[in-house]
């Protein structure tokens, strides 16, 4: 095994070196010759993602309810103007923001903590790491069902059972604290993601820097604040950014846990879109919500990327 490993390593390195040399010398034509086989895939991806998007934009200018034949007619910006005045849309935007900020904030803090533990020399590290990743690998729907029925159900759930001595045995967590429940389930799901990214960052750190700090007389807290945190910061930001792009789209767990309720307390933008499209069958309005959601996401992503970029520049200047 060892020998095999050794014999492979140089070859890999050699290949990498070759690539660098040839990459510099390929002509434009050769470049196209290399890209050409990829073109069908590119065209396929373009067709499959952009045509539905263009159709969505097209439909968003029409008043069209599936349940009302003959209702298909051009309505200009009507769908968009109703979005601005619609209270449910405002609530959904607010819920999306609350959900995303809470989930990302909490899961980054927890993920950081767990990553720190797993980065140190602790007994049973391998097992712990595997167990920690598990929530992320469970399908969101199945995870949400386990939470709803096995853990939180007031009749036979595990949590109410353990809380009975405290007089909290029959609290219906899902409908009394709907947003907190969704946040909890999503944090449970996203902490492993943050943990993995931050752990990768921590492991790329040079341990000598920490040792030097220790020699200089820094205590654990100081070392964490002045060395570990700044070094892990780009990874935290990356995790938060990637995570929020996915958490904004949370749908599965809301569908399974609360169905957007009670009232519209946990209806976020994707769930509102689902309700408008598949319960109201208002295709035009749903398309308009979709378009607005994409525009908002692009704005947020642009700002996030810009912040990230400026942070990198500051880091480089230091």
């Amino acid at each position: 095994m060892k020998i095999a490993g050794r014999s492979i390593l140089p070859t890999v390195a050699g290949r990498g070196g070759e690539r660098v040399i040839t990459a510099a010398s390929i002509s434009r034509r050769e470049g196209w010759a290399r890209r050409l086989p990829l073109l069908p895939a590119l065209v396929y991806v373009f067709v499959m993602t952009q045509i539905p998007f263009l159709l969505t934009i097209y439909y968003s200018f029409f008043s069209w309810n599936l349940l009302k034949p003959g209702s298909f007619r051009f309505s200009g910006l009507d769908n968009y103007s109703t979005l601005l005045t619609d209270e449910t849309v405002r609530t959904a935007v607010l819920n999306t923001v609350v959900l995303t900020v809470c989930v990302i904030g909490i899961s980054v803090i927890l993920g950081m903590g767990v990553a720190m533990i797993l980065n140190s020399e602790v007994f049973g590290k391998g097992l712990m790491r595997t167990l920690m990743i598990a929530p992320f690998l469970i399908m969101p729907t199945a995870g949400a069902l386990v939470w709803k029925h096995m853990l939180l159900n007031p009749l036979y759930g595990l949590l109410p059972y353990f809380l009975t001595p405290l007089g909290l045995g029959r609290v219906d967590w899902v409908s009394r604290f709907p947003m907190a429940t969704v946040v909890t389930v999503e944090v449970w799901r996203w902490t492993p993601f943050m943990m993995l990214i931050i752990l990768a960052g921590l492991q790329s750190q040079n341990p000598e820097v920490l040792e030097a700090a220790k020699v200089d007389g820094a205590n654990a807290l100081q070392a964490f604040r002045r060395i570990t945190l700044p070094l892990a910061r780009p990874f935290i930001e990356l995790g938060a950014l990637l995570g929020s792009l996915f958490v904004v789209q949370t749908y599965d767990s809301i569908y399974m846990l609360t169905y957007g309720g009670p009232g519209s307390d946990t209806t976020n933008i994707p769930f509102l879109l689902y309700l408008v499209a598949f319960q109201g069958y208002s295709i035009g309005k749903a398309s308009a919500i979709g378009v607005v959601a994409v525009i908002l996401t692009i704005i947020v992503a642009t700002f996030a990327l810009r912040t990230l970029f400026s942070i990198f520049q500051v880091e480089a200047r230091r």
């Binding site: 309810n65 599936l66 349940l67 009302k68 034949p69 399908m139 969101p140 709803k148 159900n153 007031p154 009749l155 029959r170 219906d172 899902v174 409908s175 009394r176 993601f193 993995l196 990214i197 990768a200 960052g201 492991q203 790329s204 040079n206 990874f235 990356l238 990637l242 996915f246 169905y259 957007g260 309720g261 009670p262 009232g263 519209s264 307390d265 309700l275 598949f278 319960q279 109201g280 069958y281 880091e315 480089a316």
Partner: protein, 450 residues
């Protein structure tokens, strides 16, 4: 920064992150691919709701095919909310993916009016043994549009009160056959203890869940959704009293976690002896096990002002007007809803499995009478007295007992029941919820004002 030193771990980092992203995208994209069908003879595709009666139908399809070798039946089963969406999209776009589908009494008149359903009268006329007069009258009325049947019932239900005789007797309560809601509330209070709750009522938001029993309470309390001019009536005292009564009953003697309890949750609670009473669909009694099966009593839907407050629902088979295989489709519908089908289920799968509430003749089969001894009469009478054209005390411009038969109701009902869920959870007052619900109902009603 020492860029070079970070290289190898960087690759690990990049690989980890890339792996995570691929995993996420993969998870998001992994959908099911359905469809397909045989290429021999005529294939009839049935989009069906996933309930026990339809599962039984699926099992008996080989019997049908043995008698009709020229027709292949392909049944696509999905949970209720999903089949509703799929079928709605299919018929609305007239794509003809499904030749047959299961729809409820809510959809039949609406879709018949829109021209999405095939008028079945000419087909029924062709089969002299079909006996449409044998269909239970209330159900037949619900499936009739312009004097013609547009769907045939596969399963029908009303609502009734189910109670544990032993638990009520222990606290000295006897339940009359026609109880009032006040009697039920008093009994629930009395039997309610730390180990057993008084009554289970649906609180799970959804027009087909919480709103179904609640609507029957509103109707019998004298409330209605709209007056004759389509003005929303949810701020009237009747609605206030009904909603207050329903939520208080849940608070004082109902199951814990009422906000997430639907039919299934209540069935579990009742079967496990966690609740002493349960007001729900008549079909529930077919699923009782243990003490619930042996010790249950059945009473008609409780009342206040209006008599016979039970709801009416039927799952039916309907044919899309866009179907290209109408004759083959009818042959299957005819077989699955015929008089003989009940006998087939009874002999092959067991008499307690026969779908209730469709044909009067089923109730005169001795074996079925025996299998459904306690609740057959209550079921039959409740369905018989449920009148979808006169659901309320005061006249209304709509049909439907536990729903309002307008296209907007699916969304309206879901939204309104979400507001009521907040009342049940204790985070909103009855008046505030009714104010909001009234505004939503008015928006829907405005489309019908003249």
């Amino acid at each position: 920064m020492s860029d070079r030193k970070l290289r190898p771990p960087d690759r690990i980092v990049a690989a980890t992150i890339l792996g995570l992203i691929i995993a996420l995208v993969g998870a998001a994209c992994s959908g099911g691919a359905g469809g397909g069908g045989g290429n021999s003879a005529t294939t009839v595709t049935l989009g069906s709701v996933d309930n026990p009666s339809m599962t039984d139908l699926k099992k008996l399809v080989p019997d049908f095919q043995a008698a009709h070798p020229g027709i292949t039946v392909n049944i696509v089963t999905l949970p209720e909310d999903q089949i509703r969406q799929q079928v709605t999209q299919d018929v609305a776009t007239q794509s003809g993916r499904f030749d047959l589908f299961t729809i409820g009494t809510y959809e039949v008149p609406l879709w018949a009016k829109l021209g999405w359903l095939q008028d079945l009268a000419p087909y029924i006329a062709k089969d002299s043994s079909y006996a449409p007069d044998d269909l239970i009258p209330g159900v037949r009325t619900a499936l009739t549009y312009n004097n013609d049947l547009y769907a045939v019932p596969f399963y029908g239900e009303s609502s009734m009160l189910m109670y544990r005789k032993d638990l009520l007797a222990a606290v000295g309560v006897t339940m009359p056959d026609h109880p009032t809601w006040d009697q039920v509330a008093a009994a629930a209070q009395k039997v309610n203890s730390s180990s057993v709750n008084g009554i289970c009522l649906r609180g799970l938001p959804g027009w087909g869940e919480q709103l179904a029993p609640l609507d029957t309470v509103v109707n019998t309390f004298g409330g209605r959704w709209f007056d004759q001019n389509w003005t929303a009536q949810l701020t009237t005292p009747a609605w206030h009293d009904a909603l207050t009564f329903y939520t208080n009953l849940l608070k004082n003697a109902g199951e814990p976690g009422a906000g997430s309890a639907g039919f299934t949750e209540c069935l579990n609670a009742y079967n496990n002896g966690k609740v002493a009473m349960w007001y729900d669909a008549t079909v529930a009694a077919s699923f009782f096990t243990g003490a619930a099966a042996t010790n249950s009593g059945y009473a008609y839907a409780p009342t206040k002002v209006k008599d016979w407050s039970g709801w009416l629902w039927a799952w039916t088979l309907a044919m899309g007007s866009a179907s290209k295989k109408k004759d083959a489709a009818w042959t299957f519908m005819d077989w699955a809803t015929s008089k003989a089908y009940a006998n087939l289920v009874g002999t092959k799968l067991g008499w307690q499995r026969v779908a209730p509430g469709t044909r009067t003749s089923t109730y005169s089969i001795p074996q079925y009478q025996q299998a459904s001894a306690g609740f057959a009469q209550v079921t039959l009478d409740s369905i018989g007295h449920a009148d979808i054209t006169h659901p309320t005390v005061d006249p209304v411009p709509y049909i439907g007992i536990q729903y309002v038969d307008i296209t907007e109701f699916q969304q309206l009902g879901d939204q309104v029941s979400q507001e009521f869920a907040k009342v049940i959870a204790g985070t909103e007052s009855v008046d505030a919820a009714l104010q909001k619900a009234n505004a939503m109902a008015q928006t829907a009603g405005n489309a019908y004002k003249h």
